[in-house]
Subunit: 394 residues, 2 copies
């Protein structure tokens, strides 16, 4: 081999992009505990606890609540592959990257996608959704993104789920960026198939995707006329391992250590309490916003529709946005995110997710951003950001 | 919530089942290093090293050599979902659980499976395969399991790949249990799509599936007439992230920490050297075999066809096999595996994989097994196993 790699020692970054977010030491330590067998009775006990803790996080009593053994995209695919049969009509709301990915999933499952489109940065418009539900009484599923990670917009999941229910539709809801950061009330919403990720507001390592299915959704999976096209994601099989009862059937080898980490991350969430976590995300968002606005930097999403944990902000006139991110990373070990899709080059995405949503990070980010932008002679207000943020905390 | 979970502290087991195997402290430590972004330039450098190290392990120069972000079953599905189009004919060799799973994959991809069956515990019969290739000149793919984890049989991959090549077929090869334990010579065999797992002879945590595709196989993926039915596993998209070049396109969030661990596990393999690792697996297998045979316990697979890293052995007459495993786990913290499918209740599967393939484990397992079987009045020879094993090492 022409190369001679050594052990990889990552730099210590501050992760304020769209995820992964900073993982607390307690979770990293849990991750590194000795591996045991995926059918070990002690491990099975822990699996039960993970299910219970996820029910807490999702605010649901759904029996089918578990982590898929792969990242959030596989959680999305779990929902679509299990619920969409060839020919099924699915109303898909697109207001950013992840709605587009949902549509792609529908098509690949042989379904027919009816698209309800809203501008990137806007929330999903319930009126358009209601019109689509009326125009397509044969639709089986309404799919939408609660927290659009590409824009920072938070849609009204309660209303959208209610409309779907009134028209006899199941719902598939993306809560990858919301779970643990803003309210995800699965039972209160009456949502049917909901997926999330571990590397955002749960502050766990990336690689798992928590999902929860209502009994109605599970019934639809069990009464399919065609087999689920994915063997790996087929819930009829996965439940042999993750379902209840002492007897677990081998399906695939679970990612044992990542599940230790998720268990610990969920414990931390429960110790803090969901409501407190939401309030903390809100407070740090307000401080960051005050600082950014004092500098003269605006938001993509209009006030009231914003996710506090994912701030998509506009790049000041004439600034090379990639150079700013590079400098923040190289000089400050600080990661913020680039824009995706139509927003590429125009916005930054500043995450305040989970463990990373704290005052230190808010002040550090504002100070570092101001320093870098000043050197580039960007048209910003100087010397005011940190004070403006501090005023929110005081 | 009716329960009050605390941090999970797993017991320290010795893992001698069919996987996961014991993960060395160096790998667990690497796993727990601080998470960084999946698009961080330093992380991208590490990804390149992982690809190079996997090429070493697979003995290939295939450019498409990378870990899938999910367990071995998803690696299997990556191969089938990308190569099988609706209507494609695939010859599938079944001599255990995983051949059966391959067939299931073919069907779910809309392909037509032609099954070549051999008894569980036997290797795949090249003569039957040749007959099938002749009878089905329109077959596109030959799929077989190199190392059948359910039985411990190792098939002749070189011959099977040669036959496929002579008939213009691509090959899909399961090396989940062989990679790092016995020779997997992808380029020498001329294999086309090969997948493995991290939790067997690589002694890494479970959750990733290394795969390698020949240029010919990649060409077949790129020239598909229909889209790959899985968005998550579509290599046309995954390669935007894992392909070469400085510019990485976001596809899904990579399991960052698990990849640190795989990097470290592959470094350990390279430090030891593939040939030395194979010799170590062979030596410890011979010692275990000597001890078991001295006790009067026989093997499922005939000599010469056995995987040294996975020993399927017959349960002595009249012994409650589950009780033996339970006692080993509870009293000795020692995990050995149960039989699967038609072998359930009849065999144990004793793994000597990766880091766990060492003299301490061989002697410990023999001593513990003899102790438990003696107490159950099993018809075994006593007081001879350890000496017989030691004679192999001397």
């Amino acid at each position: 081999m022409p190369f001679d790699p050594a052990s990889f020692n990552p730099p210590t970054r501050t992760l304020m992009g769209p995820g992964p977010s900073d993982v607390p030491p307690r979770v990293l330590e849990a991750l590194s505990r000795p591996t045991i067998g995926h059918l070990d009775p002690r491990f099975v006990e822990m699996m039960e606890e993970v299910k219970g803790l996820l029910q807490y996080a999702f605010m649901t009593e759904n029996a089918l609540t578990m982590p898929v053994s792969a990242p959030g995209s596989a959680g999305m695919e779990t929902c679509f592959a299990n619920l969409v049969e060839p020919g099924d009509k699915v109303i898909v709301c697109i207001n950013g990257v992840f709605g587009g990915r949902m549509k792609e999933n529908v098509v690949r499952c042989g379904g027919e996608a009816v698209v309800v489109e809203d501008e990137w940065g806007s929330v999903v418009d319930p009126q358009k959704v209601e019109a689509a539900l009326q125009a397509h009484p044969d639709a089986k599923i309404l799919a939408f993104v609660h927290a659009e990670t590409s824009t920072g917009a938070q849609s009204d999941a309660a209303t959208l789920c209610r409309l779907a229910g009134e028209h006899g539709c199941l719902t598939i809801v993306d809560t990858v960026t919301s779970l643990g950061g803003t309210p995800v009330k699965v039972d209160e919403w009456g949502a049917d198939a909901v997926y999330s990720g571990t590397q955002k507001c749960l502050s766990c390592v990336p690689g798992l995707s928590p999902v929860t299915f209502s009994d109605r959704a599970l019934e639809a999976v069990k009464s399919r006329k065609t087999p689920v096209q994915s063997w790996f994601l087929d819930l009829n099989l996965v439940l042999g391992y993750w379902g209840s009862g002492a007897q677990r059937t081998y399906h695939h080898t679970a990612p044992v250590n990542s599940l230790y980490a998720l268990h610990e991350a969920l414990l931390i969430l429960r110790e803090e309490g969901l409501e407190n976590a939401w309030a903390r995300h809100e407070l740090n968002h307000r401080a960051l916003k005050a600082g950014l606005e004092a500098m003269g930097i605006g938001f993509v999403v209009k006030e009231g529709d914003r996710l506090p944990q994912l701030n998509a902000v506009t790049v000041p006139e004439g600034v090379d946005e990639a150079a700013v991110r590079r400098t923040l990373l190289e000089e400050f070990n600080l990661e913020i995110g680039a824009g995706l899709g139509v927003l590429a080059g125009k916005v930054w995405r500043i995450g305040l997710m989970g463990h990373a949503s704290n005052r230190r990070n808010v002040l550090f980010c504002l100070a570092a951003l101001e320093s870098v932008l000043s050197r580039m002679d960007a048209p910003i207000e100087k010397g005011v950001a940190v004070d403006a943020a501090m005023a929110v905390y005081d």
